[in-house]
Amino acid sequence: MSRVFISRDMASVALGADEVARAFADAGCAVVRTGSRGLFSIEPLVEVEMDEGRIGFGPVGPDDVAAVLDGSHAARLGKMEDLPFFAGQQRFTFARCGVIDPLSLDDYAVLGGWVGLEVARAQAPQKVVDAVKASGLRGRGGAGFPTGIKWQTVLDAPAGDKYIVCNADEGDSGTFADRMLMEGDPYCLIEGMAIAAHAVGAGYGYIYIRSEYPYCIATMRAAIEASAHIVAPFVLEVREGAGAYVCGEETALLDSIEGKRGQVRAKPPLPALKGLFGQPTVINNVLSLAAVPFILAEGAEAYAAVGFGRSRGTMPVQLAGNVRHGGLYEIGFGITLGELVHDIGGGTASGRPVRAVQVGGPLGAYFPPSMFHLPFDYEAFAQAGGLIGHAGITVFDDSVDMAHMARFAMEFCAAESCGKCTPCRIGSTRGVEIMDRIIGARESASSVRAEPVEAHAGPSTDSGRTGEGYLNRALYSRAPDRINVSIEAQTNLLRDLADTMKYGSLCALGGFTPYPVLSALDYFPEDFGADAPVKEAAE
């Protein structure tokens, strides 16, 4: 009887892995459901245990069982470790993902599981915090704050109750590393949280998972139950989100766990001092916590040895969108954006030229190929007017309309705003309207060689009223003046609005929405109709 390995990762299931697994089980195989290896162009992937090791075939359909089992299937890939996509990686955090049965405690222990926790528990809490500091680990949720310093604050805070909160909201488009880890190696996250609990003296932990990740929620709940005796006296619980992107912001997340609307809190106080239920709280992203077992087991130096500048260790980069070889690629910081998109991602899935990539989720900047020399590094991206965020890279081909993407960024901000700050709550909707006028003016400029376009945005003011003094003007000030819908006037207004959002928002939702908008405008002005007047003048 053959042993075969087939992923139960949500992406693999979406591509038909369940049907494939059923077909192999019906054929009498012992089917082990693993996490995903992380290369989705070969999913559903079937690995068959043979004399020479685990041999992969993919993508495989339910009708391919016989051809796979006798080794004659055309999509024979060999050993996964030898594929260029995997051979080039440095898998510190994702070492076991795709290899093991995610819920098997034996599998986890055989491949080095719980070693980090044992090492940590044999040390004083301060030593554990010191190790995390020495590793150079920075928050993988996007902000890049040094994790060890955050833990030190919580350790030093005098309090009876402390909490570990794992931010598993992963609401960014183009990111799925948190999801893959929770579905493919849940004990790694649990171990990281248990180490954090020992390091700061916390007794209880929450994992806040977005409701869009039902597979994660089920897997994590099962894993928590199965490993409760190992992490005891530390106790863990999963909390399910309810469809609010903003709950990925740490203080909104805390309010959501507390049973309130997910509205952002003013900082200070820092959650490290006054967090969940007012107690000192470690809040870390899934990837930050999942990096910790490696750091403790292999040593801080081993982790810090990889990387670039002040960005130490590895980053699980996620290649998404219109990309040929999309998936998860864990590598030390410093690899360039171009290498990731072209050499590893293989360019676009559509075969058309790459026109733009958005790095760091919906709040990240759009970069053109002329920026592909940028090294993947917190500082380099910040300097270039962007962010690496959670390291999601969404690739767009030359059919993309960047004005449409800028409009969507505003629309998304309007849909997800928690409502606390005016620029985010209202400004975003006004931004959508500005983009509609720009797109409208662009369309009419391309079809008609028109006079500078002017239009009324609403009912016209009665010009007779204007002479009636200050009070009347104030009373009727909401009646709009004629709006100059020339593209230049509208883009100036858009920049002005972006400035207000950037400086007038309490959190990154309102504060970073200008990144995609302004980068689209700066790098792709032709999509905003900005080049049209020049072209006409040349005629």
Binding site: V13, G171, E212, G243, S256, Q318, T394
Partner: protein, 150 residues
């Protein structure tokens, strides 16, 4: 429903942080959260009715009216757009006969927006009655339409 709330609080307690888990459980049970149940929820957790109403309306997931018999959650976010999501969204609304964000008049199917399912390399994606579907094209859309017609 009061019985349900009573059984739930007996197991999980009556602290305020139980509100989201309770709302999830109620929606799982009844498909939506009727405004008529708000007073009982408020009483059980010692909150004001306005407070409970405010939480229900803040979170997109909680429904105040019955859902369609089938729910298609289609991703509208960037990575799916990069793979033709906008065209699929239009086609889906047309083929299913329901606007994005609405329940069809006969109650058979609801088309809901979702902002990322974490399947960003294989889009456009959807959750059809909780089942993930990737690489949606015209043919896949036809299969979904037949599935939700049943």
């Amino acid at each position: 429903m009061e019985e349900f709330i009573g059984a739930w609080t007996a197991r999980h307690g009556t602290t305020r942080d139980g509100l989201l888990p309770l709302l999830h459980a109620m929606q799982e049970e009844g498909g939506y959260i009727d405004d008529a149940w708000v007073p009982a929820i408020a009483k059980a957790l010692n909150l004001s009715r306005a407070d409970v109403h405010g939480v229900i309306t803040f979170y997109h997931d909680f429904r105040r009216t019955p859902p369609g018999r089938h729910v298609v959650k289609l991703c509208r976010a960037e990575s799916c757009q990069a793979r033709g999501g906008a065209a699929i969204e239009q086609a889906a609304a047309q083929r299913l006969g329901v606007a994005m964000g609405a329940v069809r008049a006969d109650g058979q199917v609801a088309l809901e927006p979702v902002y990322c399912l974490g399947l960003c390399a294989v889009g456009p994606n959807a959750l059809v009655d909780g089942r993930p579907v990737a690489r949606i094209d015209a043919a896949a859309l036809e299969r979904i339409a037949l599935e939700v017609a049943a």
